[in-house]
Symmetry: C2
Subunit: 253 residues, 2 copies
């Protein structure tokens, strides 16, 4: 591949999505806002690499899916930092996967802290609004607790379903279960059978909140087991009805 | 509604799906095969009601989603009984919900026991084949254990996810979680937020197998919690990879 081809591949080429590209970080001195779109593990090293080249007015923001450890690490290094988490996307990547309306009506969480300049938050918000995303603002810890409930906990309980089914030691029953599995199993096991690297990242970076939600989850599961053991069908039905009603607060179908 | 309208509503009227309808059970004396399509709780009372009117050659079969308690109850009363479980359908009901191809390529489990006449099994199989369903034959207990893994256990673990999320006592975090929930939460919570009566039926009629699969599940979940507590990322990643690989044996996407 020639230099021009490599440049086009990296930058989107004739799509005109890049005005200026370089490996020389000195070009960043004029930049107003920088979006750091690396995996969480690379955010801090990236910021450390950029800092010597930045104008102090430059605003940094990131797109990491866990916020407290990122904000705790970056805020002391760069005042004009606004933690962010756009909750959209799919498993595709690269310029070919670009979608104009990817963020429309999707949540985009910003997690400023007491020391974050309001002007920096306002500028990031202005950009996010143009994507037509739904903006939420909260403390980094509140973000991490909320995504543990609705994203990281589901991965662990869904994965444990697959592991438990695979543990069936009667080979005929296991084969039958694999043959009979349909939409209920497919949906309940989907996130648990997803990208192992993402699951690991959730556990590493959101460990405390994930452990907390797992403890609550076990408590709720133990209660269900107790009700079934005690044949307490009245309370079991009440719990199932309560689950049915509560789901509509999370899922708009 | 006049008598003709009521008859049409009950029988499908001008759809020509009914040749003869009556509330007089004496018409059953000529019947070769009877499909009992009631909720599980009504199967035994229905069979007891029909027996005085049946020719001994008549084959009975049912469509209950738990098999051992049904077969244990009916086989001693009627030799020509073949337990069955067609695994297709949706939440609609009544003649308006009828679909010609409902059973095509869907599992249809038959659970004959040692005393079931082979001729009776062959006749039910012949009818099921015309529906183009995938026929499986197994012991009633093996059926109940397999469906506990892939259908009844998922309902309980998925419901516990909803209950655990609702237990968040910080109202702002709960509201945020409800706002941020997307496809991962939607899929993982779907069967747990479903029809409470169905969930209760699974627990009542498949209690022993469901409790067994719940114990295995708790064991697997506890292992995940331990790995995260110990920061054993190597083994956690192996487990997530193993879940990812195992899912393909259950789900053909």
């Amino acid at each position: 591949m020639g230099l021009r081809d490599r440049f086009n591949k990296l930058t989107g080429g004739t799509r005109f999505v890049v005005d200026l590209a370089s490996t020389d970080l000195a070009i960043l001195v004029e930049t107003k806002v920088i979006f750091i779109c690396t995996p969480i593990v690379a955010i801090l090293p990236t910021v450390n690499q950029l800092i010597p080249f930045l104008n102090p007015n430059t605003i940094l923001t990131d797109v990491g899916s866990v916020k407290a450890p990122v904000v705790d690490a970056i805020a002391p290094l760069w005042t004009n930092f606004v933690g962010g988490h756009p909750m959209a996307g799919n498993s595709d990547s690269g310029i070919e996967a670009a979608q104009t309306d990817l963020f429309v009506s999707k949540p985009y969480v910003l997690t400023p802290i007491a020391s974050t300049p309001l002007a920096a938050v306002a500028i990031v918000e202005k950009i996010v609004k143009r994507l037509r995303a739904k903006i939420y603002q909260c403390h980094p810890q509140d973000h991490d607790r909320a995504v543990s409930w609705i994203s990281h906990l589901p991965v662990m309980i869904s994965g444990s379903l697959i592991a438990a089914c695979q543990s069936e030691d009667n080979r005929e029953v296991l084969k039958l279960a694999q043959n009979l599995a349909s939409s209920g199993f497919r949906d309940t096991s989907r996130v648990g059978g997803g990208n192992p690297e993402l699951g690991l990242m959730m556990a590493r970076y959101n460990r405390d909140e994930l452990l907390r939600s797992l403890q609550h989850y076990r408590h709720n599961l133990d209660r269900i087991v107790d009700l079934i053991e005690q044949k307490n069908w009245v309370e079991l039905e009440q719990q199932l009805q309560s689950n049915h009603a509560a789901r509509s607060h999370f899922v708009r179908e």
